[in-house]
Subunit: 458 residues, 2 copies
């Protein structure tokens, strides 16, 4: 094969071992975690420093070459894999992790640091990370920032945007922008960190961040409840809040999701009986166990409970929730929706989805689970043809919009949801987003086609 002069020039920047063109070596960078999104890449570059990222971007800008930034490649909306010959810019080598600032409670982390590494680093310094989710061993800081990731601790500590004090980023033109502010209050100009969080690699390439840490919980208790319905789940949630227990997590799944996890992950039944709805609650802080006990004591809505306070017991309960995603993948390639509705609408939403699906695609299986307190459900469609998937996706997301909900609560819009953006973002809003995109990436080289349609000249 003829050598690619651009790839050769990129290899001179990052070193030949970190500019990959061999299809066998690039395969893992070209297909997403679900297997649903895949495409050709011109090459994969893995710069080792911010300056190398800047040089890569400058070279690509000069060549009019589109770039797809990539973190741990655990995204679910096709936002981090190539579509048509882009350069894949892997930030996986930016694994710098500075010492924790013990007074301010912040840490500087490179985009390639995994969530698990960040957590271990924080805990070793007597702090904790306010974000957690199942793909913590692969997902990276850069990807968390790009998607404004959520997970299981949002109700206590907020989303990723709430954790980010400062950013360093490289523009489409290859300019390094340093806004590495560490202060809790520094309202000097536009909120660039907040704008880049959730921008899905379309405005700039985030290379480092100042991450705000949280104090570790002195005590933690995890309980799995068997309940009859979403409405009962919300009532219990309200009781726990009224009891002034500090709620650390409130997750939910149903009978079908539990069956799937038991089958594929080989887990024993968590409770004696089957229940239509399961809720995994975690309370933290001094007195958490007593507070939870007060709520549970003779509480008629809760049919059964498993409670754990030690790490092993808590992990065993969390496994029922955290292994759902991988067990769905074991059944096939799912179409993944990440929606939110006002929590009080969850019961009605649960009724309507099967009606909508049954009318269009009777063989499609729907599995859903997620974050109860925010009404954020991960709706997975299995066994759908492409045509069925599109029709069902459109119908479910239209339903979500009708509830005043979100079509993308924490995974991002990516390629997968772009066509549905109009359901919850009006033309004026999209025009403002387009103006910002064109201002920061005038030639449409950064992750083209993600979130917004590619520019006409891109």
């Amino acid at each position: 094969v003829a050598a690619d002069p651009l790839a050769e020039a990129l290899a001179r920047i990052v070193g030949p071992a970190d500019c990959l063109t061999d299809p066998d070596l690039t395969a893992g960078y070209r297909t997403d975690w679900t297997g649903r999104f895949t495409g050709p890449a011109r090459c994969v570059v893995r710069p080792g420093t911010t300056d190398e990222v800047a040089a890569v971007m400058a070279l690509c800008a000069a060549a009019g070459q589109a770039v797809v930034p990539q973190g741990g490649n655990t995204g679910l909306v096709g936002g981090g894999v190539p579509r048509g010959g882009e350069v894949v810019l892997s930030l996986s080598r930016l694994v710098e992790l500075e010492a924790v600032d013990p007074v301010g409670g912040t840490v500087v982390a490179g985009a390639g640091v995994t969530l698990a590494a960040l957590q271990a680093h924080a805990l070793a310094a007597g702090w904790d990370v306010g974000i957690d989710f199942a793909s913590r061993d692969s997902a990276t800081v850069g990807g968390l920032v790009a998607t404004n990731a959520g997970g299981t601790r949002v109700l206590r500590h907020g989303d990723v945007r709430a954790q980010i004090r400062g950013v360093e980023a490289v523009t489409a033109a290859g300019v390094v922008v340093d806004r590495m502010t560490r202060l809790p209050k520094d309202s000097t100009g536009y909120d660039l960190p907040g704008l880049l969080v959730g921008s899905e690699g379309t405005l700039a390439v985030v290379t480092r961040v100042v991450w705000r840490l949280v104090p570790p919980a002195p005590e933690r208790v995890t309980a799995l409840f068997g309940l009859a319905s979403y409405d009962d789940a919300l009532t219990v949630l309200g009781e726990v809040r009224t009891a002034h227990a500090v709620l650390g997590a409130a997750e939910t799944f149903g009978r079908a999701e539990l069956e799937l996890v038991r089958r594929h992950a080989g887990l024993a039944p968590p409770l004696r009986a089957d229940h239509p709805r399961y809720v995994l609650l975690e309370c933290e802080g001094r007195g958490a166990v007593e507070a939870l006990a007060r709520v549970l004591d003779g509480y008629p809505l809760v049919a059964e409970t498993a409670v754990a306070v030690d790490a092993a017991g808590r992990a065993a309960l969390w496994a029922y929730r955290e292994r759902i995603t991988e067990c769905i993948n074991a059944e096939g390639v799912p179409v993944k929706l990440d929606v939110a509705v006002p929590p009080t609408s969850l019961g009605r939403f649960e009724e309507r989805v099967p009606e909508v699906v049954a009318g269009m695609a009777p063989n499609v299986r729907v599995l859903s689970f997620g974050h109860l307190a925010e009404g954020n459900l991960h709706v997975n469609l299995l066994d759908a043809t492409e045509a069925e998937a599109e029709a069902v996706e459109g119908a479910v997301l239209t339903l979500v919009a009708g509830f005043g909900g979100s079509i993308s609560a924490e995974h991002g819009v990516g390629i997968a949801k772009r066509r549905w953006l109009h359901l919850t973002r009006n033309p004026e809003d999209i025009a403002v987003m387009r103006a910002i995109k064109d201002a920061l990436d005038p030639h449409g080289l950064l992750n083209p086609g993600v979130l917004l349609a590619p520019a006409a000249d891109g």
Copy 2:
């Protein structure tokens, strides 16, 4: 005088009673609260609806007429008063306040709603507002959003940006952008609400918001401590945090500020003796009183304490902190700095400021007070000539930048701090901000000269 055709056209939109050209009637809109910033206005318009705001902006855009949005005119950086014949767009009539969503804990509020009105409305519905500060009766939602205001509760509930779920805004061209999302998780596209918060009226005119409320504290205890130094203050703050008391506020001031408040506001001494440093702590939640008592019990750093649990007693203690600003104004027109340094640098900062000032302007008095936990001090310079003020301001802000601090923690950049922006924002960062400004306000009609230099063609 000849009639102004633009003012006449604006009067047809908002009604003649709400388009003011008489200098006596516009005077209150043309001078800021400190008396330091003032300028001529072409007219003052007070639209009563979002559609009227849009029509005003469209008309001004067509005429190439610059506009200064204004809230309660309590700003301290000259960002809300005219400089040279702009149209002042007062949002004071947008006082819509919808019923509180009792489950989601949100409320829709117009830009003209005062903070006090928002607080009363929330409390009546069993909720509270996470923001509070002394000018609550005049400051409005629109101004709070424009400046990303802070205040006394930031350490517990975050800044204004953390409270805002959704916004409705009118662009420079007069287009209404509706992003009134109410959901806790809705990561669908760029964070326009977060971008507009803190943009000081330079990107769009915010007309309504979805404000996230917080649960009211079940119990609250306020304590005023007499201490020897900032370092002792930080040690006590750390003790309270370690005792797992929920800290609601941590304010600070010194001997000179207390003397000023006693003199002008006629307040009795709060403690038996004088102390170099005072700290006002508030703890909230069940067990707050006991938690604070445990910390205070025989704690050697605390020389004296006044404690209050009832509303009247708490208000009496808060008066020593909240009345400082008005008492400074009673002494003269201050030059106001709003800086933050890492809290551990507060002691060193306090030593260095008088040295810097004494060398340049020996007659200038420096008064400072503020938010201990964030290291956010309001530094007021009294009795300075214009030349002294500029020299001292530059020297103090350079000192702040040297500590890795913020030159504008919660008041905004406005006109007052624009010339110092380069101290903590590098050229690449300012270029990105400029690109965003130019994208959303290409003709530079929105609050020209605030935050960024006026555009060449503006």
